[in-house]
């Protein structure tokens, strides 16, 4: 079968040519790059990527196929499109159920094989994340679209409450309940909590846990999620209430930005974001530096009153987490739940749960 040509076109006219694979239909979105070398099934199903065309700096993809659904991080692929240098159509892994190409086709996600993804990365690094579109030969043209103008959180957040309980063997004597505001959480967040023996209630982004007939819980987690934090106003209001009630609260990624906004701090958009599995973060006031998974385009600029910096990026000194000086409010900009990426900061869940 002859491959169709496909193009990645940017708003400034910059165009990259390659071959189409995956779903054969064009799409527009924000083009970002990620430097992770492993874990594409996990990354692609990370809701934080909603609306984004992802460029993989690692040149090979598809090597171990796609595992069954329960191993995904959500129930569908969230990237809008994929750009990679070399697609491997001969996967080899005992967990593989289909090729990556077949999966993307099924999930209606277009992909392009563009050889010089390094130049593409340099372009995005120098010009910042850009709006772009995948155009497939013979397909009709489409308009550029900025996903950040949509409420992406609302799009990926669950519509109703869901309760999951830990396995009997991990049950602690006193069962704690954590309410997780799911702005686009990866499943591993829940797995990390359950294996620590707590009950997890997953709630929509705009659920108000402090309403009168609300379900009782001991601690609050604000998950990761896509887009501009300032769009998630309902969640910000919830966090404000949590802070007022002194409810122990942990924010992750978007949750970090939302907590900053709720407490009176501010956020801004990074030039090209942090996406990868090798970001070093220093735990402030210690000698420790952790390698973390990251996937964010926005960051906390102004630390809110009463909080201090919890983590800082060792490469570019951007904020990587905030913690309250007095109360159990804390948030990490990176992903302690990993998947994909290093599991070195999973201790943050323990740290938080000790304070619930």
């Amino acid at each position: 079968m002859k491959q169709k040509k496909a193009y990645l076109v940017f708003k400034d006219g910059q165009t990259f040519e390659g071959f189409s694979w995956g779903y054969q239909k064009g799409i527009a979105g924000e083009v970002v790059f990620s430097t992770g070398m492993v874990g594409y099934p996990e990354a692609f199903t990370d809701p934080s990527f909603e609306g984004q065309i992802l460029v993989s700096t690692y040149p090979l993809i598809g090597s171990y196929g796609v595992p069954e659904k329960k191993l995904w991080e959500s129930d569908r692929v969230h990237i809008a499109g994929l750009v990679v240098s070399n697609y491997i159509d001969t996967p080899s892994h005992y967990q593989s159920t289909m090729t990556l190409g077949a999966w993307l086709t099924k999930q209606k996600v277009p992909a392009v094989e563009i050889k010089d993804t390094r130049f593409l990365t340099q372009y995005l690094r120098d010009n910042g994340s850009q709006l772009g579109k995948i155009v497939i030969e013979g397909d009709k043209n489409i308009d550029f679209h900025d996903p950040n103008t949509n409420n992406l959180v609302a799009r990926v957040s669950p519509k109703s409450l869901f309760v999951s309980s830990p396995q009997a063997e991990t049950l602690s004597t006193k069962l704690k309940t954590i309410l997780m505001i799911d702005c686009g959480a990866k499943r591993n967040m829940q797995r990390c909590l359950l294996k620590r023996g707590v009950r997890v209630i997953t709630a929509p982004w705009d659920y108000d846990p402090f309403k009168r007939d609300g379900i009782p819980f001991d601690g609050l987690i604000i998950s990761n999620g896509p887009g501009d934090p300032k769009m998630a106003t309902a969640t910000i209001t919830t966090i404000k209430k949590a802070l007022e009630n002194k409810t122990p609260t942990l924010g992750v990624c978007l949750g970090n930005q939302l907590m900053a906004l709720a407490a009176g701090g501010d956020t801004y958009k990074l030039k090209f974001g942090h996406r990868g599995q090798n970001q070093p973060c220093i735990l402030m006031g210690s000698k420790n530096c952790y390698i973390t998974t990251q996937n964010h385009g926005f960051a906390v600029g102004e630390i809110p009153p009463g909080f201090r910096e919890w983590f800082v990026n060792a490469n570019d000194n951007t904020n990587e987490g905030i913690i309250h000086t007095k109360y159990p409010f804390m948030a990490a900009q990176f992903h302690p739940e990993a998947n994909p990426g290093p599991v070195d900061t999973e201790w943050i869940f323990d740290y938080f749960l000790e304070r619930v």
Binding site: S92, K115, D116
Partner: protein, 1086 residues
């Protein structure tokens, strides 16, 4: 921040290059020294390997060319009083020495702190049973196993575990003495061999066809821990990682597998308290066996090895990622914290991060097993390879095919028409891997063997097999439709096909394909290796080329650039000495403000370090790639005379392409390399050479031999380290060997020449400018002609060479230099007999003796070479260098040193089962050392101890063949008798020696099957020196003689087979005891 704690630090090097421990430790030691020097710390280095960069003036402050053993290191400590010692930069040799020093309480006694990883952790990782117990306490699985210190115990354990079992030996390098035993017999053989080297073995559960995965972990004193790189072995478990094709990063691991193993490696490193670098190797079940629930993930994996030091894998990881592991490890050992260190590639980001690659890397081991007569060709759990090459690309094909061509330029890529396999050969080659396995896989795929079948036979993951099949398929379609459409050609280049291979498939030359390609605008891109996949801008000079791109990361250097071609993978005959010559040339170029551009593909080298050259192309040294780089960079020219024979072989093609060669012209290189042309030149210049003829038939060879008389020497043209060279004592020999030689090289005729027995061989090394010699050194072989110059013991200054001989040599050399209008380094090998000198060979390039003579004489000949390139007229060296020798003012002879230096070869026969451990005209040594002394005996004894020899204390077995040799050696035996050691011999030697009045014990021949014989003597520890003088003229049916030599080597007992070495050794040990040997540094000798 400057270190204040330590002022003087001792660094232990790894000694001579040997199988399992090669050039990677020159890289790690050099980086460590640099890291210390930046802190203002005085560095003392113990390393007898004179060919290394680390033992150069520009690195360590004080260098001891002495054995890295506890005795010598203690003496140095006593003298130098260092306050710290680094043990993890000199491989297993340094580590073992450090353990011994600790156990003997020496470090404590002299208050020397061990920097970095605590010694207790190192000792724990080296004791396999204790380490397995330790890992159990932190819930890290190891294969079921038990340690045995006796053969009986090993048998018992094997019975319990059930066959097959894996035998591993502790405290050894490169898996020596390890193996897979399928039955009791095999177990016995492996264990017996292992116990002659190590006190303990581990008998463990064998994990058939598990994946082998490695992590390189770095930890600082504050417990910050990162994994710099993970790597996947293409070959399954059971093939040593040093023998495996290795890919970085891993290809077939999912996120869970990758990160669970990563987490396990970090957990291990933390539990050990490593400060610095550590390598962790895992076995992973490819069929999986894990569940993902709310409960913790469990992978089916085992830890199979941990190296608490810099290793071959860490050198590879460093080159694969651009992360300077050894440099960082040294800083951490000094007490720095990882987050405080900068990433020296980007300069702006932290060193506490994990590199992200936007390319893949394929490492191929380099074997040279054909060079060892009788050696078993199969590869397995102990190392046999002598070097490695690393291909970088953005598809698997690109990286893999590059690596294959880097391995050996005679191959065109993953698919090659040679070697060919019959059906049974192919099946065997797949099931029992040999050094030919890459081509066996491609051949199998071409024959239509399916991937599942191949996977079953080889244990190689279908992922890799599919990628290779992809390459095979591309070839087949081109072969079927040999039209070079733009898209097809581009695609093939993306998959790493060479122009030459594409030409072969379309019936045209590589150059023709190149021209088509350039016309179509299909050109490679120059990409940087920047450690973080372009996330931040980096100023790195570490480059590679790829067709999977369409921009360049850098701009051409232009006129100021000078390309220096490095050595390629280390192999027999081309090793670290050519890295020294390359690096020294690069350093000299700086003085002339030239921008050096190094091309090399060997991850074990210092020349491929990120901070050596202005630009480094980690690339193939093929004509195609060199010209690609040349056309991109537009440099002033190329230097190809400092990387050994590999770059020198490119001279003609590059010249005809229009490349400017700096130094001697290509025409003149050709005259030197082409035997007929060179011979004609010698005749014109009236320079003598052994009678020779070029023959292409057996009868012509026989005629020649009849005319000049036996013995004769045969060899093919363009030799590297004497491939297929042989001395033939009679007609039968000639017939037999000529067949071997013609198999090696069908298109080239064979050269046959007269062989002189008992002649002296001398080396003439020099640098000339426009035909005038500016400096030269003559050194002398201890062995008579007939031992390859790379295997010879070389002494400087000469001991037994007359003034007349030297004058004749320099006169002949002067004429040759003038005639060939040499500018640059060259080497002439002379034969001296009866006051006549004959030229054997001229190499118009730096020879392997250059670092030795440069360091001994204090005149850096590479410096002088670069001076000759860029200065109008260079004065002869003695005029400006040696003011204290007025008699030599106008001469070019470098004055003799006031001490004696001896270069001693290192052999690795113990690793090559079945190989005959005797030096001959084919080179077999893997490395060398050089030591200094007041006399040749003192220097030799130090050197002999430095290559692992011992002074005998128990007993001597003597076997002399040939009456003449017996007579000649009698004096030495009498001398040795004064040591009062018991002597043993078999019938003939016994008769001869007892008649001469020497008291000795008669023992049986091995094939008499009676005891005592030499093997039982060795086993019982009654003999620790074997002298087995072999007569070349005796028939080859000397099974017993071979068994004696092999028995000595397999039991790690000192062996001498050459009369002159044995004599020198006896002189040395009767004249000196260990404590008589002077503990003097290089500086003190000068």
């Amino acid at each position: 921040m400057k270190n204040k704690k330590y002022k003087k630090i001792l660094i232990l090097g790894s000694g001579a290059l040997q199988i399992g421990q090669a050039g990677e430790f020159d890289y790690s030691g050099s980086q460590a020294i640099k890291a210390l020097k930046e802190e203002g710390i005085r560095t003392i280095l113990v390393n007898p390997n004179i060919a290394t960069i680390q033992t150069s003036r520009l690195l360590a402050d004080i260098v001891y060319f002495l054995p890295v053993t506890d005795y010598f290191v203690e003496q140095i400590i006593k003298k130098e009083k260092p306050d710290g010692i680094l043990l993890s930069f000199g491989g297993q040799t340094a580590l073992n020495c450090g353990i011994s020093l600790t156990k003997k309480g020496i470090l404590e006694k002299y208050h020397v702190a061990i920097l970095g990883t605590p010694i207790s952790a190192i000792m724990l990782t080296e004791d396999r049973q204790a380490f397995a117990n330790h890992l159990a306490t932190i819930h890290i699985p190891t294969p079921l196993s038990e340690a045995a210190t006796s053969i009986e115990k090993a048998k018992k354990i094997a019975k319990k575990l059930g066959f097959p079992v894996m035998v591993r030996s502790g405290f050894s390098l490169g898996g020596q003495g390890s193996g897979i035993a399928k039955n009791m017999e095999e177990l016995m053989s492996i264990v017996t061999h292992a116990f002659s080297f190590v006190p303990q073995v581990l008998v463990e559960q064998y994990l058939h066809h598990y994946k082998e995965i490695e992590y390189e972990v770095v930890r600082d004193k504050d417990d910050n821990c990162i994994t710099v790189c993970n790597m996947e072995n293409m070959d399954p478990l059971g093939i040593h990682t040093g023998e495996s094709v290795v890919i970085a990063p891993s290809q077939t691991l999912t996120n869970t597998e990758y990160h669970q193993l990563r987490a396990a490696s970090i957990k291990i490193v933390r539990s050990l308290g490593i400060v610095g670098e550590c390598n962790v190797q895992f076995a992973l079940n490819p069929k999986g066996n894990f569940t993902l629930n709310a409960s913790p993930l469990t992978l089916d994996y085992f830890v199979i090895e941990v190296n608490a030091r810099l290793s071959r894998s860490s050198a590879l990881a460093s080159k694969a990622t651009g992360y300077p592991l050894a440099y960082v490890a040294a800083k951490l050992a000094l007490g720095y914290a990882l987050p405080k260190l900068r990433n020296s590639v980007t300069k702006v980001t932290s060193a506490c991060f994990e590199p992200s690659l936007d390319y893949i890397v394929v490492k191929l081991p380099r074997w040279d097993m054909e060079k060892f007569k009788g050696a078993e060709l199969r590869i397995g759990s102990s190392m046999k390879s002598v070097g490695e090459a690393m291909g970088i690309g953005r598809t698997f094909g690109e990286a893999y095919q590059k690596a294959i061509r880097m391995y050996d330029l005679t191959y065109t890529g993953a698919v090659d028409d040679t070697p060919t396999f019959t059906k049974t050969e192919l099946h065997d080659a797949l099931k029992y891997p040999t050094s030919k396995r890459m081509w066996a896989i491609a051949a199998a795929l071409r024959q239509g063997i399916t991937i599942p079948t191949l996977h079953h036979l080889t244990g190689i993951d279908p992922w890799f097999l599919s990628r290779i099949k992809n390459i095979v398929k591309e070839e087949e379609t081109l072969r079927a439709h040999p039209h070079l459409l733009t898209s097809k050609l581009r695609h093939m280049k993306e998959l790493g096909f060479s122009d030459r291979r594409i030409g072969m498939l379309t019936n045209q030359t590589g150059i023709a394909v190149r021209n088509i390609r350039k016309e179509l605008g299909i050109l490679p891109s120059v990409f940087q290796i920047d450690t973080l996949a372009a996330e931040f801008p980096a100023k790195t000079n570490y480059l590679y080329m790829t067709y999977n791109g369409n921009h360049h990361d850098v701009a051409p250097t232009g006129k100021n650039g000078v390309i220096v071609l490095g050595s390629g993978p280390y192999r027999i005959g081309s090793s670290v000495e050519f890295d020294w010559t390359s690096v020294s040339t690069v350093m000299a170029l700086k003085k002339y403000k030239k921008k050096s551009i190094v091309i090399n593909c060997n991850p074990e080298t210092v020349s491929t370090d990120y901070d050596i050259s202005d630009r480094l192309y980690f690339e193939e040294m093929s004509f195609e790639r060199i010209t690609d780089i040349y056309e991109f960079e537009h440099p002033e020219g190329i230097i190809l005379s400092v990387g050994g024979q590999t770059p020198n072989n490119r001279a003609q093609a590059l010249f005809h392409f229009g490349v400017k060669l700096l130094g001697t012209s290509a025409e003149n290189i050709d005259i030197a390399e082409d035997r007929s042309k060179f011979s004609a030149l010698c005749d014109t210049l009236k320079i003598l050479q052994p009678a020779w003829e070029s023959v292409s038939s057996l009868s012509a060879a026989e005629d020649f031999a009849k005319r000049v008389g036996y013995p004769v020497l045969i060899r093919p043209s363009y030799v590297l380290s004497g491939s297929a060279m042989n001395v033939c004592g009679n007609k039968e020999d000639l017939e037999k060997f000529l067949k071997e030689a013609t198999i090696v090289s069908r298109q080239h005729p064979v050269t046959i020449s007269r062989f002189y027995e008992q002649a002296k061989e001398l080396e003439f090394d020099a640098v000339a400018q426009k035909g005038d010699i500016k400096a030269y050194v003559i050194s002398e072989h201890i062995e008579n002609a007939g031992v390859h110059s790379g295997d010879a013991t070389v002494v400087l200054p000469t001991q037994e060479v007359s003034k007349t001989t030297k004058e004749k040599m320099s006169r002949a050399a002067g004429k040759i230099a003038k005639a060939l209008h040499i500018t640059g380094p060259f080497n002439i090998q002379f034969l001296a007999k009866n006051n006549e000198v004959l030229v054997i060979e001229v190499n118009v390039r730096a020879s392997r003796t250059f670092p030795f003579i440069s360091k001994v004489t204090g005149v850096n000949l590479m410096d002088l070479f670069v001076q000759c390139l860029f200065e109008k007229t260079v004065q002869p060296v003695s005029a400006n260098k040696m003011k204290s020798h007025p008699e030599l003012v106008s001469g070019s002879q470098i004055p003799d040193p006031t001490f004696v230096a001896v270069k001693v070869p290192q052999f690795s026969f113990s690793r090559l089962k079945g190989a005959d451990p005797t030096p001959h005209v084919e080179m077999a040594s893997t490395g060398e050392v050089a030591c200094f002394g007041d006399t040749v005996e003192e220097a030799y004894l130090k050197g002999y101890l430095a290559v692992g020899g011992h002074i005998p204390e128990k007993g001597v077995f003597i076997s002399l063949s040939g009456d003449e040799k017996k007579e000649k050696f009698l004096k030495s035996v009498k001398q040795l008798a004064k040591k009062n050691l018991p002597f043993f011999a078999t019938q003939h030697t016994y008769d001869f020696l007892s008649q001469a009045g020497i008291s000795l014990t008669k023992v049986y021949k091995i094939y008499d099957n009676k005891t005592p014989n030499v093997l039982t003597l060795i086993q019982e520890g009654k003999v620790d020196l074997v002298i087995n003088i072999v007569d070349r003229n005796l028939p080859k049916s000397m099974k017993d003689s071979f068994a004696i030599r092999r028995g000595a080597i397999d039991a790690n007992v000192s062996l001498f087979t050459k009369i002159k070495n044995a004599r020198l050794f006896i002189d040395a040990i009767t004249k000196y005891s260990l404590t008589d040997l002077a503990i003097k540094s290089w500086e003190e000798y000068e």
